[in-house]
Symmetry: C2
Subunit: 663 residues, 2 copies
């Protein structure tokens, strides 16, 4: 077995050891109940030495493997322990203050679902529905979010739906939302209250009445009523000589790129120590947090604000990816580990996939005098994970490109979170997507954490605006424009300014490009977007300060990984960027972290139901005066001897096409 | 041979007939010299009848084929004729006023290149360079643009470069710009004057001195000095059962989409009569114009403003696309026709290519209770053309998607337009990209013309802003937000407003979606961008009003196709949107045209030289409450039986991967 690298994800034996040590530290009566266990990143100062030694083939320093454990004791006390699993001892264990809640454990969610549907208060409501035969009730446990400064209990709000489909497990219950919504206390499993949901324009609710039968809008091919499926012909992607990448443990080598990929419970995966053509570019890259606030102001919808990483874990809700399904070609998979409440690890198989793909042309030039063309195709290496967070799916792709750039792509798909709506009612905060079912407007706001190492760890964020020159002797025709640079000196954010073409760059002021005579850097290409829409003093904003701006810069400190803070479930305030972007820390020519917020306001379309075609958003990280010329000039030229494409042929057209090959 | 469809591109015999009829209308002494001949679109009112008849299998009305001819007579008189080639007569022929110039004919550009380099005034300057053996001089003829209200001559400005490479035709002359720049009159071939180019910070120029030898930055694999090319393994795309599309003449059928594709001399290609699942969505789609203004204010660079469609023709500068090179898979090609000055057509082979491709996931949902997944992949049908406009290449992709959306993608590549710069000089309007060579900041601003037919020809443009609700009884927590709609009533533009999530939609107010109870429509997704940077009263802006705003709406009129007007070469004013977006025409529930401007300010990177990795920009047209649910539910589910992907294997990793298939 290969030795464990400090960046490798947590191993099953490490998780087992950590949970055993923690359990052993309590009496059995404490009923230690784990909700998340994973590896902490090693201290960066140690890792810098480690990576230098690794690069030069020197003896490697010892770096302890440390795991964090989140767990409840005595039913409702939430604790965090740090465990050194290299030496086998607990470093710290702390009971956290009341009101700090851990993430939901998937096993607990499943158990809560059963609890809810069998609770007398819920059963009583279900009976009032007088459902016809073949119909039953399904619930979605939801994070409770925050609307009360005095609430400290770990709560779960259940949204209730009719399950049609005559027993088919894949019937789309989201199509048939009900109007009652019980709240339970997690762990104690106490019933707290029954909320009722409005069906008209305002917040008025009614007692539960017999269910008015409407057809479900089904997505599953067994149920969706499509009489005929489209005749799509296979499009096969093969690599007869094998792929252009190699993977050893967590280490990937591909087309000049070298980096490590590690599954993490909270983020899905993180990329470590990314280098291109031997030069350091990024120390760590990952999704950091996501918040999904809804715009329907009526109780209890005002509390619909999910934090899909902090509240439940993106990694532990990761899909088991399937060959020939979630990506095509020659695929390498990584597994992850989830845990049970007892702290026992289980494999989440194939939850990160990697492959290379073609993405059209990378560059081309034709000399029109000779008709000679130079053409290289754009090959990408994709690291992908997909998480299912109840109704929604998020597809996260980090795409490494042969020209030294990285595209970070988010695709949102899955099923809209729906609300009941009475017939002939319209609301200004939602779209009717099926009979008696409404999908409220909402936002998806993701923070990606970019820990740069542009030719080293001392980096600076600048932003360049493109500005008109004044009309004067030098610019008599009024057409001149120039680039104007501003340096970010203190931890904080950069305002958006699309109309001045504002572009943020991460530069290294200590390394000057010999051609341009300017500092080497990477730029961040990202469109200007509407950020979080709630009032500044709303809980939505107080809990997700990161969602108010598109670019943040902070000074690097170990373990500052999550944009809204470590604990988001029912949080009352953002303990991440709200604290770290303090306006005080010097961030020029320092070890810094950049946080890029990708936001999209989702006004649901009827076409987004019953399952949503992907909405795709990207951030590009591209070298900017980093290399001394196009770094992809060493790509082989595109030819059909290599790519083996064929001509379309169909009767007369076919013959015509064949003739063309002679031209 | 299939009958000619009114939307088919001009046929060679039609071009021959038109040019013969025009030539025959003049005495031989007039020296008729053609610069562009192509088909006019048929009148829409006739085509609506034709398409209805075609749809129902009724007898087809006769629609005459009409060609336009642009040509010079008596050396410098510019004329336009319209020729009915169905009946064989000239409809009109008109001499255009002095100062209106036609597009450059590629043959003429080649001849001008020779003229320039052999002209005594130029030869004299070249001699002063005292070039070492193995070096010669190459020139790029450039459109002259505009800085003088009294200038009416057809002029060409030549940028001069050293050609290194020891006789290799593909040496990158753009790397070695010279400091003299002759101007010639086109057609008369008169030498007008010698401009000199500054090398320092300001506009000071110097007489030609012996050339200071610096190495060229080469892109061609023979010359670029790469010792070792990357080991990229083949990634083959095959369709063993054939593609999912059929093409008959100009008509494409693919996955519910039906449309026609026709090559055009000016636009590359146009899409006609696009329908999805039997419903009309767009009558015509095409690139309409592109302007490329440069920000270097110093003479003569202030005149660097290309109109890549109007000044020279995007189609007639189209590449000959190669199998397995410009796109992969099963490819269908269309040819185009260029002409000689004598009006003789020649084939531009394979200048439009079409194929289908995979683009990741289209939708996915996993029921976390059962782990059952519904997954469909995103298949796209791509219509692509690539034009070489001197130094730059533009790749235009219209991508039709299985969910009823269309992505219009522009990729800019090729070689930066360069300027000489003296050693140790920096300028605020350009990047040094190699020894003594600078690339000025510039903008690429493209207008795409969208002629909608959303369930018919009476359409309306609206824009929706997402706005916070005030905090009140209905919104006590300050988290509510709603969508606010504005109707465009008069021909004009829509202001950008990214921070209110402003989204333009083309709707049909006469057709109500039965689910959402709102008008059916398509939305236009496009990021907010910096528009043209020059002063409002500059020629750059006066000539390209379209480049000042991102969305324009006009009333449909036949032959209003080009955003900056019909004649852009040395134009003094925009005769397109500047006229048609008049604030007067009613455009609500009318036959309308939408013009979407995609702009990007290009601050060159060293990495963009000597050939530029693609910079990619997109507009998405997506159904918005057009269908009654996700229209892609009839796609087959993704499986590996269909897609035949394989697992990565490498020693121990391979075994591990194999085991995983059993999980």
């Amino acid at each position: 077995m290969a030795p464990v690298h400090p960046f490798d994800s947590a191993k099953d034996f490490e998780i087992r050891l950590a949970s055993k040590l923690v359990k052993d530290a309590y009496p059995a009566s404490a009923n230690v109940h784990f909700v998340q266990i994973d590896r902490l990143d090693p201290p960066k100062k140690d890792m810098i030495k480690y990576l230098e030694a690794e690069k030069h083939g020197f003896p490697l320093p010892n770096i302890s493997r440390v795991l964090y454990c989140y767990y409840y004791t005595n039913t409702l006390d939430f604790n965090k322990a740090l465990v050194n699993v290299s030496v086998g001892h607990i470093i710290t264990k702390t009971q956290l203050p009341k009101g700090i809640n851990g993430p939901l454990l998937p096993d607990d969610v499943m158990a809560l679902e059963e609890l809810c549907n069998s609770h007398p208060a819920v059963v009583a409501e279900i009976e009032k529905l007088k459902l016809p035969p073949g119909y039953s009730v399904r619930n979605d446990p939801w994070i409770y979010a925050t609307d009360d400064p005095n609430e400290t209990r770990p709560l779960v709000q259940f949204f209730m739906y009719v399950l049609a489909g005559n027993g088919h497990t894949e019937s789309n219950h989201y199509s048939l939302p009900l109007k009652f919504s019980p709240v339970f206390e997690n762990f104690s499993r106490k019933f707290v209250r029954m909320d009722f949901l409005p069906g008209g324009f305002d917040e008025t609710t009614t007692p539960t009445l017999p269910w008015q039968e409407v057809p479900a809008v089904e997505y599953h091919p067994d149920l969706n009523g499509e009489a005929q499926f489209r005749d799509v012909r296979p499009l096969l992607i093969s690599q007869p000589d094998g792929p252009s990448y190699t993977v050893e443990g967590s280490k990937v080598n591909w087309q000049g790129w070298q980096f490590r990929v590690a599954f993490t419970s909270r983020e899905g995966f993180a990329i470590y120590d990314a280098r291109f053509k031997g030069r350091q570019v990024f120390y760590r890259l990952s999704l950091s947090e996501m918040t999904v606030p809804y715009g329907d102001p009526r109780a209890p919808y005002h509390r619909k604000q999910a934090f899909d990483l902090g509240d439940c874990g993106f990694g532990v809700n990761g899909n088991h990816l399937n060959l020939g399904c979630d990506c095509l070609g020659v695929i390498h998979y990584l597994d992850g580990f989830g845990i049970s409440g007892a702290g026992e690890p289980f494999v989440i198989p194939n939850t990160v996939c990697m492959h290379e793909q073609d993405n059209g042309l990378l560059y081309k030039h034709v000399n029109y005098r000779t008709n000679n063309a130079v053409v290289a195709r754009k090959r990408e290496f994709v690291v992908q994970t997909i998480a299912t967070v109840a109704n929604y799916e998020y597809i996260i792709n980090f795409k490494f490109v042969t020209d030294g750039s990285i595209d970070i792509e988010t695709r949102a798909t899955g099923i809209l979170s729906t609300m009941p709506i009475d017939e002939n009612v319209k609301v200004p905060w939602g779209t009717i997507v099926g009979p008696n079912v409404m999908a409220a407007y909402h936002q998806h706001i993701l923070s990606f954490r970019i820990d740069p190492a542009i030719d080293g760890h001392k980096n600076t964020v600048v932003y360049d605006d493109t500005l008109k020159l004044p009309r004067d002797k030098l610019n008599p025709y009024g057409i001149g424009f120039v680039s104007d640079r501003t340096y970010v000196e203190k931890a904080g954010h950069v305002d958006q300014s699309p109309f001045t073409n504002r572009t943020c760059k991460i530069i290294n002021e200590n390394v000057i490009n010999p051609i341009s005579k300017t500092p080497v850097g990477y730029k961040i290409n990202m469109p200007a977007r509407q950020m979080i829409l709630a009032d500044d003093d709303s809980y939505n904003v107080k809990r997700a300060k990161f969602a108010t701006e598109q670019v943040w810069v902070t000074k690097y400190r170990d373990h500052e990984l999550f944009a809204a803070g470590e604990f988001t479930n029912q949080s009352k305030t953002d303990t991440g960027l709200a604290v770290w972007a303090n306006g005080v820390d010097a961030v020029r020519n320092e070890d810094i972290v950049v946080w890029a917020t990708v936001g999209f306001t989702h006004i649901p379309r009827v076409e987004d139901f019953p399952v949503m075609p992907v909405e795709t958003h990207s951030i590009q990280l591209a070298p900017f005066n980093f290399f001394d010329r196009n770094p992809a000039l060493d790509l082989p030229q595109a030819t059909n001897g290599f790519n083996k494409s064929t001509l379309y042929s169909s009767g007369a057209e076919g013959e015509k096409a064949c003739c063309k090959t002679k031209i």
